[in-house]
Symmetry: C2
Subunit: 760 residues, 2 copies
């Protein structure tokens, strides 16, 4: 790529970005779009009325100021710890690449330009003169590159250490910040063994009642996905039957926690009529069939739950598998029913599918590089020569189009990886998103970075390139990375700069909203607040980090482009996190170890490529001098892994025991335990609308099916005795537990955001 | 290598082996050698008197019969679970290679011989005609090889599954078999934080007394290695001081568990004299300095200990690191004092040292291959040509010498790896040996197998061989493995057959014993019973397994040699385990997962090499048909990893809870807990002879220093009040614990095997 093409691309992208930023600053002031641009605020009831005035139609930068002025506490309040960690990744990038930009602009860039290594090469273009390729072989100037690499690596490791420490501290504080989280007291059990004489429900009750008698409170069986709706229908049918029996003042009754809870039957009635009893038993049997081999088990203290989640329960490690449960809103119910012993097959299948997907993606990548290297293709396809007469088209095709095409193709990657993570069997939305993030990241590193570099070179050599070993690969990278700098500059502009504009504008939400309100004139909302796409954005930022590190001493001209991106990303994401996105679940900072590993990988790749390049430039002393740096970086990584990673994998017993004691002393524990058994409501949390809610107001308000389906704690269930085959109540809610001793808990408070769902 | 050289080697080895076996059958009957050949029986007091008769000097096979007739229970009684697992590895090898031998002899070998692929090759020799190299390119006969590979892989996986299941069951039974193991109740704590105002001892007591009030019984600080002797000297000095004070009926007193136990001072006296007190305080201060940041903490139940060992204690994961303690005799005391935060540096250093050692070992390997390929060397070194006139020498040099030289060089590997594992910081002898086993195994696979194959080829091509990628490597292996078959046949004979003879004869013990008794006329024993060298023998058997799998369809002639080895190994090791070796510690079957992984590696390598070879022989359909087999084998491995491996990493909560309950019901628990706090005696277990024991009988028998140093529970310590700065007794032995409530435990029973030490 030559300079005109790069300038064309820069012009296009700057124009588009400035346009989108301006448009956003106008559109955000329109009342029509308030749900698109202030979804979070709307969901919290913090809306505002704008009067129709001239200012509403003038672009302004007030949002930038607000985003700049927000403190970390504001971000934490709006976006939780994950948002803070994400912005820490951006801040880390800004810091390290500012240092790198200063060093490289004043030291490396002049040396590259005056390096005189390329006078002999005929097809060199102006861009390549600024890369390390222009430094003469055996030049002493390479020591400056080596020195710069040392400083950048040192700064990066220092910054990484403090950030890791900081994030680890924040994660530890999370436990204290949310002491009443139900997940602290709950263990998810999978692989409940099948038993011919007992239902899963009874097995779980017996097992934990027996072995954890002092700490076990209650449990809640998980029903098969799709079964929830059927259960509701059955319940409705029974309700009809019960209310149709006029002889007695018969009242529908469900035992505590109802359908989604501790008993295998959805509800029981006192009707003495044999017909009702038969149907009742039939439904009970049907329900038993719909139980999954998974359950949520509640414990008396955080430490007890931790202990159960950390030990192997049974001699067969595929049975009674325990782990700490996710938060209620974080649970991904449909995956809880996946049999535990099939998980490894799913994981392997997804692994193979990911590889196939990556391989298939080589086609668009090669096509993109083909567009860029159009002069090479012209020799094969002569009809392309007509293009070269019109230089503007050529500049557009080689400068702007390739990165645009790649960016468009990449849009399908995050949803695909999300699908893969779902199929893999993640039990919570947060782990699913994090797992998707890992997949997207690896995909980006491989398919955007390596395969672009390699396929570009493959086209240049007309398919004669063969890479058979890691050593070949490194040598090739050292040779090719500087030559691909201009493509990645345009990629940073297209995917980064214009991407930020898109992020601000939210085109899908905007158009949908406009279509619903203005064209279709519908009442309901098109767009509901969505959760932040960490899996897309974290991997994009880390990919740009990889570009920054690997190009910084080889082709430093990319750094200003990256810095502009990171700076605006900082502002844009702050704004979006505070206004648009809704926090439904958190990973408690689990994205940081990922970012750390990706950065260490980038650093070591940079160092290895630099060492090889120094060797190729016949400066073997500089090359040898780089090797200790690689070893030191690897050691630093091992140190961090030992020092900080356990915090992200486990919880400290000391902290939990102290919290338990504090709560017990202050009496808060009973309050927490009361709410605990009703916290995980498969019906509500699955988003199933109880059938009696809106469509059937005829059922009467007091004994409505909604009450029946969710929790029926206020009903006089104690007086109603049923001679079913189910075990007595102490199996399910342990006698002696606070929730059994205390009066039944009040019905759960109404959800604060009843309409909010995640589109991920 | 040609057939005469192979026959020379076979003749030499058969002669040597038969000689050693016969010699053994005579020597074992001599009373002089009873401690060499029946060390285990002697240590158990089961000796027998042989009368001088003619039979004592006639070789006999009675030991073979006895070894054959022994049941698995006998082996378990003599050698524990590890011996059983080791013999299961041998039995697995016998089974799978019998199947392979039958298939390959009747199907593969004839096809290879009549393959007609080598008529064009000039330098082929008779041995190569029996390898797959003789099959024509594109021949349909390769399908027979592919079919054989499928059957062998299927049988191997089936056998592996049942063996793994079996070993996992045995491991689970171990817990029930030894319910009173102190290690079940004990947790090793490392990384105790340093505190200016408290000793480590006090910190540990406070921490566990606070957070585990209901389950913590007592703890025992670990003293610095080398400090134990000093403590003994101090104690002796104090004893002298105390006994020299005549005013009061002063009696030496140590608090419970004495020096190695719960108090930081080795003992305290009631002497009111200020001089004694000053010295006492001085010694106390000195002792405090000798404390390590590690301690053994005792808990009331197995489940409590498991729970503590499985949770992270502190928010800083480098502090209060817990793991289940090893058995008392298994503890490797000197490594307990290695600061926990230095362990990762040690591990990395050992990793680097292992690589360097492996690289250095390429020299002897290349030398060995140089001997074998002497005809190639003759072109470089003309003076070697003189040798070829005497064909017997050539046969000896190319046939027998190479494998002998390699075997001799390999003798230094196990001790080196043991040293590495010691430096790595293993806290128990069993984990140290297992870790050494892993290292030896990797070393053997790499330095015996791969580097012999590659260096042999390197010499053939006069140093022109370059391997740059895994793909090159696989292609090379496919080409080279059949050509190295004859070398490995001689290696199996030298290292295997003659190795078994050496194992039987125990030349070091025999010569040493003879030298001590007959030449030096010394009274004491030269050889004490030693523990079995699993790290050497397991890796040897697994290396032969690798040879068997990779050669079975490529050059099946090696299989009979291997089968002979495995069959005699079965007999010899049974005999040795029952008679010679002493069990000091066990890994509870941890060698099986290692054997499983090594076998899976061998299988997959075989399949990959076969697939590449089929491709090279232009039978691409057979090559493609092998790929599903590779995937299936990998899937089988993942399945086994999920199904069985957790049993080897953790203990099941259910089992432990049930054992705890049974013990509590039957009253055994109190008995166990009584013995618990005296089980870990750093003095006794370090092998330090208490100074008052033999050398100083003048101290008097009743108040001897030995009693003082080890346990002084019978003394009226409650009456003796000392105003030291140490915390009151309830910090150390928790009040309310059975050991505090019950009368003090009796002094520990005398060690049954006082003289037995391990030479490893």
């Amino acid at each position: 790529m030559d300079i005109p093409a790069l300038l064309t691309s820069a012009g296009m992208n700057i124009g588009i970005s400035v346009g989108m930023f301006s448009l956003y600053s106008i559109l955000r002031k329109q009342p029509l779009n308030v749900k698109v641009y202030f979804g979070q605020r709307v969901s919290q009831g913090r809306t505002r009325n704008e009067t129709l005035c001239f200012e509403r139609f003038v672009p302004s930068a007030s949002w930038i100021l607000k985003a700049w002025e927000a403190t970390e506490e504001d971000i934490f309040a709006s976006g939780g710890i994950d948002a803070v960690v994400f912005l820490r990744i951006v801040i880390f990038s800004i810091r390290i690449f500012s240092i790198a930009a200063i060093l490289c602009t004043f030291l490396v860039l002049p040396l590259n330009y005056f390096g005189q290594g390329m006078e002999r090469v005929i097809d060199s273009n102006a861009m390549d003169l600024l890369t390390i390729g222009n430094v003469r072989e055996g030049s002493r100037w390479l020591w400056a590159h080596c020195f710069t690499l040392y400083i950048i690596s040192g700064c990066a490791c220092t910054l990484l250490y403090y950030e890791y420490k900081n994030v680890a501290r924040m994660r530890l504080e999370q436990v204290n910040r949310f002491p009443a989280r139900p997940s602290n007291f709950t263990v998810l059990v999978r692989g409940v063994p099948w038993c011919a004489v007992e239902s899963y429900n009874e097995s779980v009750g017996k097992f934990f009642g027996n072995y954890y008698a002092s700490s076990y409170i209650a449990h809640q069986i998980v029903y098969r996905s799709g079964a929830v709706q059927t259960i509701m229908e059955d319940a409705e049918m029974m309700y009809n039957l019960v209310t149709a029996a006029p002889a007695k003042p018969c009242e529908p009754n469900a035992d505590r926690c109802g359908l989604c809870g501790e008993r295998s039957n959805s509800f029981k009635a006192t009707s003495s009529e044999s017909e009702t009893e038969t149907k009742n038993r039939k439904i009970e049997d049907e329900l038993r069939e719909k139980e999954c081999e998974a359950a949520l088990v509640f414990f008396r203290s955080r430490y007890d739950a931790l202990v159960v989640s950390h030990t192997i329960q049974s001699a067969d490690p595929m049975l009674w598998v325990t782990e700490l449960a996710p938060e209620p809103k974080d649970v991904f119910w449909q995956n809880l029913c996946v049999p535990f012993n099939l998980l490894w097959i799913r994981k392997i299948s997804v692994f193979i599918a990911s590889i196939v997907f990556s391989v298939l993606f080589l086609l668009p990548t090669t096509f993109v590089q083909g567009l860029m290297k159009i002069e090479y293709l012209q020799s094969v396809f002569p009809w392309l020569r007509g293009l070269s007469r019109r230089s503007y088209y050529v500049n557009l095709i080689t400068g702007y189009l390739p990165s645009l095409v790649l960016t468009v193709f990449l849009i399908i990657v995050p949803p695909t990886m999300m699908l893969f993570s779902t199929l893999e069997g993640a039990v919570s939305r947060s782990t699913r998103k994090r797992s998707a993030c890992v997949k997207v990241l690896i995909f980006m590193f491989w398919n955007v970075y390596f395969s672009n570099i390699l396929s570009g070179s493959w086209i240049e050599r007309m398919g004669k390139l063969t890479v058979t070993s890691p050593r070949d690969m490194i040598t090739l990278l050292a040779e090719l990375i500087p030559r691909q700098a201009s493509f990645f500059m345009t990629y940073v502009m297209t995917s980064g700069w214009s991407g930020l504009g898109c992020e601000l504008l939210q085109p899908v939400g905007l158009l949908g909203n406009w279509l619903f309100k203005c064209v279709l004139q519908k009442e309901e909302e098109f767009c509901r607040p969505v959760t932040f796409s960490y899996h897309t954005e974290v991997s994009r930022v880390l990919l740009f980090g990889l570009l920054g590190f690997t190009f910084c001493i080889l082709a430093p001209l990319i750094l200003p482009f990256l810095l502009v991106y990171f700076f605006f990303a900082f502002l844009v994401y702050r704004n979006q996190i505070m206004n648009v996105y809704f926090v439904k679940y958190q990973t408690d900072g689990s994205y940081w170890p990922l970012a750390h590993n990706a950065t260490i990988f980038s650093l070591i790749l940079t160092q290895v490529v630099a060492a090889v390049l120094f060797g190729m430039k016949k400066s073997s002393s500089a090359s040898t001098f780089t090797i200790p740096l690689i070893i030191l970086t690897a050691l630093f990584n091992v140190f961090c892994k030992n020092r900080f990673l356990p915090v992200f994998k486990n919880r400290a017993a000391k902290v939990l025991i102290e919290m338990d004691r504090d709560d017990e002393r202050s009496g808060k524990l009973e309050e927490i335990l009361e709410k605990l058994t009703t916290a995980y409501n498969q019906f509500e949390l699955c988003g199933v609308e109880p059938p009696g809610k809106e469509e059937k107001p005829k059922k009467g308000s007091n004994g409505s099916l909604e009450d029946l389906a969710i929790v029926k704690t206020g009903s006089p269930s104690a007086e109603v005795v049923v001679n079913g085959g189910s075990p007595p109540a102490e199996v399910v809610v342990k006698s002696g537990s606070p929730s059994a001793e205390l009066p039944p808990p009040p019905p759960p408070p109404p959800e604060p955001e009843p309409n909010i769902v995640s589109i991920n």
